[in-house]
Amino acid sequence: MSSLDNKHNGSARVGVYICHCGINIAGKVHIQDVVDIAKKLPGVTVAKEYKFMCSDPGQEIIQEDIKKGLIDRVVVASCSPLMHEPTFRGAMAKADGNPFMFQMANIREHVSWVTKDKGLATDKSKALVAAAVARVMFHQPLTKTQVPVNPNVLIVGGGIAGIHAALTMANAGKKVYLVEREPTIGGHMAKFDKTFPTLDCSACILTPKMSAVRAHPNITLWTYSDVVGVDGFVGNFKIKVKLRPRYVIEEECVGCLECIEACIFKHGKFKDEFNVGLAKRKPIYVPFPQATPLVAVIDPETCAYFRAKCKKPCADVCEKKAIDFNQKEEIVEVDVGSIILATGFKTFDASRVARYGYGKYPNVYTSLEVERLVNAAGPTGGEVVLANGKKPKSVAIIHCVGSRDANSNKYCSKVCCMYSLKLAHLVKERTEADVYNFYIDMRTPGKGYEEFYERLLLEGINFIRGRVAEVTDWAMTPDEEEKLVIRAEDTLVGKVRRIPVDMVVLAVGMEAQPDADDVRRMFNISCSHEGWFLERHPKLAPVSTLTDGVFLAGACQGPKDIPDSVAQAGAAAAEALALIDIGHVELEPNTAFVRDEFCSGCRTCMNICPFSAIAIDTEKDTAVVNGALCKGCGTCVAACPSGALQQNLFTDEQIFHEIEGVMNYV
């Protein structure tokens, strides 16, 4: 363990390497000036520049200098340490240097990419290099510790992404805990009748996977459940899951549904969430016939028993005695080594665009509602009908509701053009109505997607390019009476159009789940400003997060269709499997340590440590840190009133000298 007494001995030999990063840095920073300054800094024995320090020849420059004995510590001035710190540390280790005798100065993200003026950019680069050199003088050789990886995995969210990841992991022989908060898995896909572009039946391709999840010996499925606690770190997470009472014993229920028949409510009376409010359900229900698990659930908010007004015919009729009104919430704890988040998306709330009349005019629907209408198992048995039960003769589909709009979401939701085509086809097929698509741009990249668009054009669907101004019931001519009038500029013709229709479908965009921020906090990951979970790198690490061992799959990371969600789920599973196969993870040696001479034994640190890693040496009455338990969170260091606690890689000396390095220069 290092200690601050170990001051650098004056014999430190620092190598400084300035990277051009092509023109990324060199285009804004006078590299040679920085090299010249670096040469003059105390302790520096070598200062060099190179086009790409991260390349093999770049790394070799450092390795050779180490081997020649010219340097014993290294500063690289290049990009963010998130990008290449592991690269350079690895290069040093290969040349038998200690990888922690290293400091990076970020002169790309922090300088060249964000500074216009070359002079200022060069000045700032010099200051950062000076700081890194001053800091690295106080670095100590450290060693990493290894801990084993628990081979179990937690998957949160049982939409198509979570299902696919779960099956992939389970088929590879790993133990999977799948947590879904609804009473059934399936996510959005379970609500659709057909899927674009092939128009294959959604249930036919999804339900076999759902049953496979339920039947798989390696998968523990917890529906109607929430993750409520996450502790630990990559390879060794401790998870707490809350199983909400469904008042039906899952192991006993055979899914005969007789309890639902027997309920004192003869007909559905309450909002049916699965049918997005288009139908009513009873207090005891299954969301849909292929729900998985096919186990009834009792909603205590609406069940009469909970207001003491019911003789429980549901319980009487159940031969398996599966109904249990005394069921209590249960907390289970499991250990896993990796986590895949697949919590999906929510659709945009169409009433936020008041001018489209959602919630005001009964025949204005969202696309998700129409997915239920066209579904053979939906509230109308697959008939597309108006609020009055009649078939529409004309239908308008408005694209980009809540997407590509500075007033709501600027991004494109990516799936709406395609599902609008799908719905146009299905609506036309079921009703023979005239269908009008109002679009801004048709976006149909994808295998077979453009061809599907072509097919719809030939089917006689109307396409009008123009963002709809409003949906109104204000009639100007007799043929507009009793209709919904779409007002839009037809930008191809250059005219304002009024088109009267019977039904309007709003192609609502995708948004992050309303609780995405809570979830990201719990799993210690980040969100983009729109609320999507943030991947480690948009191109090169699209399913990893900044927290090791936590992976992303599906629409929780951004708008995505089913093929992309499944591909990503497979990738997330592969990443988790790779982690398990390696079998161990190396931990940063960023643990805390105590300088006895400053410790008064006040125990502040002991009480505050979230990992119970601090004990008291009763003889000396000072604190001691158990390095195996310490996770390097730094809480004790901040709390220590006398500065006795220090953290490796972040000692006071290192930080103060880094600051001094900048200040001296400025």
């Binding site: 665009v353 008041a354 001018r355 007033n407 409003e470 109104t472 019931d473 204000w474 100007m476």
Partner: protein
């Protein structure tokens, strides 16, 4: 909150009735609203289209006068009942505060006149103040008159909510509806409430301008309205003054009173018609619609 009243040109001329009723109503609510001393043109339409900077300087002067008159207090609202003044002042404030280049030029002009620009003066439309600074129940309790059979179409026009929606929804504002419900009146659902009244086209290309006004009036009538309330002098003028001409032009009989929202509000609060400038209307509110209703009992019931 200190309120200063910015009349602008219309409220001293064609929109006199707006000033009369606005002052009467605010007085009845016990709200003190001193007129801004030495105010000048808000810099609307013409200035704005030809030289934005001059327009910003004009509004900037009004805003700095307001700051001076309020002794530099932090919470002062400059209340503009005219929609064009409201928009002109709001736009100037935003541009001056957002763009340092504009600010330095405006400051230069103001400094030459011994003034300086300060950020904290708020620009408010009178509707915003009456709906959001007053508890609506307390307004209801001040209702003295029931207006039998009055069905109100609330008209916002363009400038109050667009492009800036500082206090209400851009496409479906509802402040006025809420206010008139608190006053015990029926309001009609009229989705055209933010559509163009014709603006200055009524004077330049009258056929187009009048057609736009006519669409509004016809649809309000069809939806059962028998009075339209507005919050803008130009809207009021366009919708009210050409009704007989429109009747001829579109072969229809157009006849519906169009008042400032403060006029109809004042009537409900029991303020005499004359004090509200209601005698100035071309299409009058019929006599005898008022009946006593102390303390808004019929609304609260």
């Amino acid at each position: 909150m200190k309120y200063l009243y910015y009349p602008g040109c219309s409220l001293k001329s064609t929109g006199r009735a707006y000033e009369e009723s606005a002052l009467a109503v605010t007085e009845a609510l016990g709200m003190r609203m001193d007129e801004l001393e030495d105010w000048n043109c808000c810099g609307a339409t013409n200035y704005m289209s030809i030289s934005e900077l001059k327009s910003f300087a004009l509004s900037g002067r009004n805003l700095s006068l307001a700051n001076r008159q309020a002794n530099n207090t932090e919470s002062v609202s400059l209340v503009a009942p005219c929609a064009a003044c409201y928009l002109g002042l709001t736009k100037a404030k935003r541009y001056i505060e957002e763009y340092p280049e504009i600010r330095s030029k405006v400051d230069g002009a103001l400094n030459a006149a011994g003034l300086e620009y300060r950020d904290h003066v708020r620009v408010r439309h009178l509707l915003d103040v009456l709906v959001n600074d007053f508890d609506q129940r307390s307004i209801t309790e001040r209702v003295k008159v029931k207006l039998a059979g009055m069905k109100v179409a609330c008209y916002y026009g363009c400038q109050i909510v667009r492009p800036y929606s500082e206090f209400d929804d851009q496409h479906n504002p509802t402040s006025m509806e809420r206010l008139f419900k608190s006053l015990g009146m029926d309001v009609v659902d009229w989705p055209l409430k933010t559509r163009c009244c014709g603006g200055t086209l009524t004077g330049t290309v009258s056929e187009v301008g009048q057609r736009l006004s006519y669409i509004l009036l016809r649809e309000a009538t069809r939806r059962g309205a028998n009075v339209i309330v507005t919050a803008c002098p130009l809207c009021q003028f366009n919708l009210e003054c050409y009704q007989s001409e429109m009747s001829k032009r579109f072969n229809d009989s157009v006849h519906i009173p169009v008042t400032y929202f403060t006029q109809l509000m004042g009537l409900a609060l029991g303020i005499p018609r004359k004090k509200l400038g209601l005698h100035r209307l071309f299409v009058p509110i019929p006599d005898g619609v008022e009946s006593p209703a102390a303390g808004g009992a019929h609304v609260l019931a």
